[in-house]
């Protein structure tokens, strides 16, 4: 039996009871954001010479891939905070799973397989909405899907490691307020990074979201710099791999005592 598939199946069984709401919000969220900020705010940006500063593309085409990557980050963060800690602390579901032939490796891999599944659905829906808004300008945009999924995993794995060390949910508020939200706003999602104060710019380069945003944008705009693209992928893979290693250690420490 492949590693983690039973844990993946567990998530799918739970999802079967809640998918309606989740699908609706996966579609509604990009529609609202692209309509309000892409068309509404974008109209002002374009009329006031913003398109020039953005390399000649309309604001919505600049914004949409940034939001795609940010959506991946947020989905990953939500799915690996409360649900993971809840299964350790609240429901003790992982204890029940580990009493069967399943191992910690199955838990880790299976939960990540589920995160990848969720990201594929959410980001796929996002790309479809983007295309409907005319915000996709190159066939390379199809590659923005795996890039967005990888961006999500680059967050999911280290956050899972963090969640596995938590005894209650109070620190998740801190994570969202001082981690996820600033990244969402300041990683080149809404405006080019060179608008940030010079002192902050290097910080942004160190976070996975910047790389996800930059690469997704190059792909949907069709202007890929191969060397830069490789660098972006390497950073994202490093966060994912490092996070997986940490999550394995944290889960084992917490559950096998």
């Amino acid at each position: 039996m492949a590693v983690g598939v039973r844990v993946l199946e567990h998530n799918a069984m739970v999802y079967r009871r809640t998918w309606h709401g989740s699908v609706l919000s996966s579609l509604l969220s990009p529609i609202l954001f692209l309509a309000a900020m892409g068309i509404g705010l974008g109209g002002y940006v374009n009329r006031n010479g913003g398109a020039g500063a953005l390399g000649g593309v309309p604001y919505i085409a600049f914004l949409a891939p940034g939001l795609l990557a940010a959506q991946a980050m947020q989905t990953a963060a939500f799915d690996t905070t409360y649900p993971i800690m809840g299964r350790i602390v609240w429901d003790k579901l992982y204890d029940a799973m580990l009493a069967t032939p399943l191992t910690v490796r199955d838990l880790l891999v299976g939960e990540l397989e589920w995160v990848v599944t969720r990201l594929t659905l959410v980001c796929g829906a996002f790309l479809v909405v983007m295309a409907a808004f005319g915000a996709v300008r190159s066939p390379l945009a199809i590659l923005a899907l795996p890039v967005a999924v990888l961006t999500g995993v680059a967050f999911a794995a280290p956050i899972m490691a963090f969640s596995a060390t938590q005894k209650r949910d109070s620190n998740f508020n801190v994570l969202f307020r001082f981690g996820i939200t600033p990244l969402f706003l300041l990683s080149g999602t809404f405006f080019p990074l060179d608008r940030l104060p010079a002192a902050i710019q290097p910080v942004a380069y160190l976070t996975p979201l910047y790389h996800g945003v930059a690469l997704a944008r190059e792909l949907t705009l069709g202007s890929v710099d191969p060397a830069a693209a490789v660098a972006h992928v390497v950073v994202l893979l490093a966060f994912a791999a490092g996070g997986i290693a940490l999550a394995g250690v944290a889960l084992r420490r917490r559950l096998v005592v």
């Binding site: 039996m1 039973r6 069984m13 003790k92 069967t100 032939p101």
Partner: protein
Amino acid sequence: MAVPHAARDAVPFEADRVPPLIEARGLVKRFGTFTAVDSVDFEVAPGEAFGFLGPNGAGKTSTMRMIGCVSPLTDGYLRVLGLDPSTDGPRIRARLGVVPQADSLDMELTVRENLQIYGRYFDLSRREALRRAGELLEFVQLSERANDEVEPLSGGMKRRLVIARALINEPDLLLLDEPTTGLDPQARHLLWDRLYRLKQRGVTLVLTTHYMDEAEQLCDRLVVMDKAKIVAAGSPRELIERYSSREVAELRFAPGVQASLDGQLDGLADRVEWLPDRVLLYADDGEAAATAVHARGLRPESVLVRRSSLEDVFLRLTGRSLVD
């Protein structure tokens, strides 16, 4: 319900012929500097109902978790189903049923789905998992709740569902950690009845409890644990014979009187135990002991003569009452 494996090849226990299902020698579990289990030895034979009896913190759960292959041993020798937990964990767990202290049910799934997905963890086909889920819900009398959420179930129903879940893989060995703690008497008796039926089918039961009546009801053999060690072992009957007497007379005196009785009860019983609120006389004939008390001119407010129980054994062994 399908017949568990153990029933098919159940044979009467003979130490030199049938290998034990569980064999522990010098088993140790430490958490940092705290020793939860301090070098314990025990064996469990196929088809047996074996109990760990002791107060909270005695090391029962830690021992169970090591047997369940979810907690590595710090030291010692342990074989479960003839296999080594440190290398064969998943293979052993495939043949165990576990009823943990906390229910650990999936609140996001229905009653039936809880069983189905658990069957899948044991690699049952979807069809087989569904079939066994139906049978087990029947067995624990939860069929009418099959499609309900888990949350609104009563404590006793949740406990029964956890037992059904532990049986989904038709285990050779069922581990129950305080199966009836927190349940009302009715729920408890229903649960005992189900466990008794499993035992009759040949399923080997290993359980922890801090209830004396539970140990007496369910266990063929048990060990008494206190402060990380085994302090006595035997059948309930043997333990009572060895560490107690056939009967006990419980005497309650008016407030203040008990303290002034100094020496006046000497020689009336095999052993006299002074508790804060009453005096226990251990004797083969409790009625005779009580009569002798009256013959000495003492007038207790109440006299209760009862059969001796494991509670008395525990008191004798540790000097403390079991449930405080």
